[in-house]
Symmetry: C2
Subunit: 419 residues, 2 copies
């Protein structure tokens, strides 16, 4: 299947040149769209206007097969841009707007649809700006910004047939809405999944935050992360997502972690606070990576390894500066790594996430976010010995419970498979 991307729009209200080249959620709008469509599409037809050279240059680096079509009369409307592609597409093709940001879940559902993809539960759009759709007998009845009565919002995503090119319209300015209204194309509802249309600078800011928030995985998050860290880290990520790469963010949170340990040599209260800050920042690299579709296994691997080093160095500094605590510190340091070892070893052996497979595991305390929060509290109170005893107990008991819960779950599974 081919995909037509209408990229002739000019981001006048955004103060940019070519809107499809605008970075949203850490990646240019058109790059996100092409990446998400690439599993289903073998060629892109991009219709551009004034900034076609910039777009061409950018898309060339992407490695996807594409053709660029120049519309030198963009004032004739986006429907006119669509009509230009008539001889380049096959019987069935995808049509998307070059200034819409779609999530992976949205594209996965929309690609299976037919006709216009309409969202009856468009949570993220500005209703006054949105194009509404009125449906009758499963087909488009009316489309427009000013419809009083409507069934959903036009998502700018279409699965079309060549029939749309047969529509006769005697107008100077032709919009895609005019064409689909006239062609009475089928309607497919894809409701409530994330997509957004970028028109203003406020839209952009909101989009950055929503994309980051939408990309929190969180299956291994502890209660501190869920209720506190993520609320801050997503805001930081939204601010940084267009400025830093995930690896740069990993480096920053690692350096803040190391700094917290160095500060703890002099002032354990301040050190504890910075350690907690590094724990918040530790969420950002993953958020930025997922938001900008730049996740990498190597990035995840290195990030986890560095987390272990930060945890060790912070606890080691406290133990060395408070020699009386060295024995509980041995247990706390061992237990802290073992929490991670027990879940990663599980993932390596069983090829599944322990929290996803055994939901009971989610309620076990002692995950990194929880440990760091506890350590910070005790640092603020100046209770280093008590902190080590609590972390030692918490982590080692957690690891033994993990072994117990995993054994029970796996034996139970083996028995049920037998019978």
């Amino acid at each position: 299947m081919k995909a037509v991307i209408l990229a002739a729009g000019i981001g006048s209200r955004l103060g940019v040149t070519a809107k499809p080249l605008l970075k949203v959620g850490g990646i240019e709008i058109i790059a996100r769209t092409m990446k998400l469509l690439s599993p289903y599409v073998d060629e892109f037809i991009i219709v551009a206007s004034k900034f076609w050279k910039e777009i061409d240059e950018f898309v060339q680096k992407s490695g996807y097969k594409y053709k660029i079509l120049v519309n030198d009369k963009p004032e004739k409307g986006n429907g006119y841009s669509l009509l230009l592609t008539k001889d380049l597409v096959d019987d069935n093709f995808v049509l998307v707007m070059g200034d819409h940001v779609y999530s992976e879940e949205f594209v996965k559902s929309a690609i299976l649809g037919e006709g216009i993809i309409v969202d009856a539960n468009a949570r993220y759009v500005n209703l006054s700006e949105a194009t509404k759709v009125k449906v009758k007998n499963g087909r488009v009845w009316d489309v427009g910004k000013d419809l009083e009565e409507f069934d959903g919002i036009d998502t700018g995503f279409f699965i079309l047939t060549k029939n749309v090119f047969n529509v006769k319209l005697e107008k100077e300015v032709i919009s895609v809405s005019d064409i689909v209204r006239e062609a009475k194309i089928p309607v497919t509802f894809v409701n409530g999944l994330f997509w957004i249309d970028i028109d203003t600078k406020d839209d952009l800011k909101r989009a950055n935050f929503l994309i980051v928030k939408n990309s929190v995985k969180g299956v291994g998050d502890g209660i501190v992360s869920r209720h506190f860290n993520r609320k801050i880290s997503t805001r930081i990520s939204a601010f940084l997502v267009n400025k830093l790469t995930p690896n740069q963010m990993t480096a920053i949170s690692f350096l803040v972690g190391i700094a917290s340990a160095l500060v703890a040599f002099i002032d354990i209260r301040l050190g504890g606070l910075i350690y907690q800050l590094s724990s918040i920042l530790d969420g950002c690299d993953g958020e930025i990576a997922r938001a900008s579709l730049k996740t990498s296994k190597l990035g995840g691997y290195i990030d986890s390894m560095l987390d272990r080093f930060v945890d060790f160095i912070f606890l080691a500094v406290l133990a060395i500066t408070h020699p009386i605590t060295l024995i509980p510190a041995l247990f706390a340091i061992f237990g802290s790594v073992m929490v991670s070892y027990s879940t990663e070893k599980y993932r390596a052996d069983f090829h599944e996430n322990v929290y996803a497979k055994i939901p009971k595991m989610r309620y076990l305390l002692g995950k990194r976010d929880e440990r760091i929060f506890i350590i910070m509290i005790f640092c603020l109170l100046g209770l280093v010995y008590e902190m080590f005893v609590i972390i030692a107990l918490l982590t080692n008991i957690r690891v033994m419970l993990t072994m117990h819960i995993v054994s029970k779950a796996k034996r139970c599974l083996a028995n049920s498979e037998k019978s």
Copy 2:
């Protein structure tokens, strides 16, 4: 496909009743054969004689579909047993001897063959007892124990067609050899893979050892394991394989490990020696599990977790009884777990074994067998502080090198995929 198992033999020289029920390498001969054939075979036809009831009772528990046929004239030879199955098999069927032990690799190759499977490089058989095969034009020319000239050894494994039942033989005693010689069936060579025929008590002892040795995985073994531990552990496993389950062996090596730590409270030299013994025994559970086809992911998971605890407790005892060493002990304990974490996290993230994928990793020192050996040596010398410093350096440097090597390998791979 159906499989005929000739199980009418009586283990007269082994002092047992039904030879197929003899445990070899931790599992009854017939159970091993059925388990290895089960991916390819949907029904087993078992020909038994005097001990058919015992065999029937045993096979019933296996859960495989089977029929048992009673040959009440076993003295007429195993060829006569085969002829009894005429109306129960389809056009193509497998024939195996109930007293032969095959490895998984052998069965995987043999099942793709045609006619008699012959081994031209039969490393594990007693040549004077073996049935030899002379081949001509890809077919059996002669078969027998006393052939002067031959091309290979009869493995007792056949992929036959119903043609073999058309053979006319006017003899009182009919062997399978008589039938295949007369039918001039095709020959397939499967050379040098492990299989063995059990006739005497010496065969049995040898088979136990060979099966265990053949089941050493060893891809993550360090140099101490390769050149020392495995040489002893395989002998221990061969002795215990028919007596203990893998889980019982895990428990024993764990308890010996804990005992070594307790002894180290009193005498670090003796403690170090027992710790090294537990390291040797730690290889046995995996050997027994693989030899007896009883590997389990849960078993592997629990074994690894317990190894981490033993290592921690042993080092913690040394650190606590030598308080001067507590600071290097922190680093050594952290580094020791991190060696395991860094390889298991790799396996979880990349779904592959780091030693198999990046051979360079095999030469990094600091694996468990190597650490324990070093710890033992320093314990014997009474140099606890030096031991901790060396283990701390060895493990932490190893982990950093691991991160470096993995990053390089993965980036190199990503680049080569791009171009």
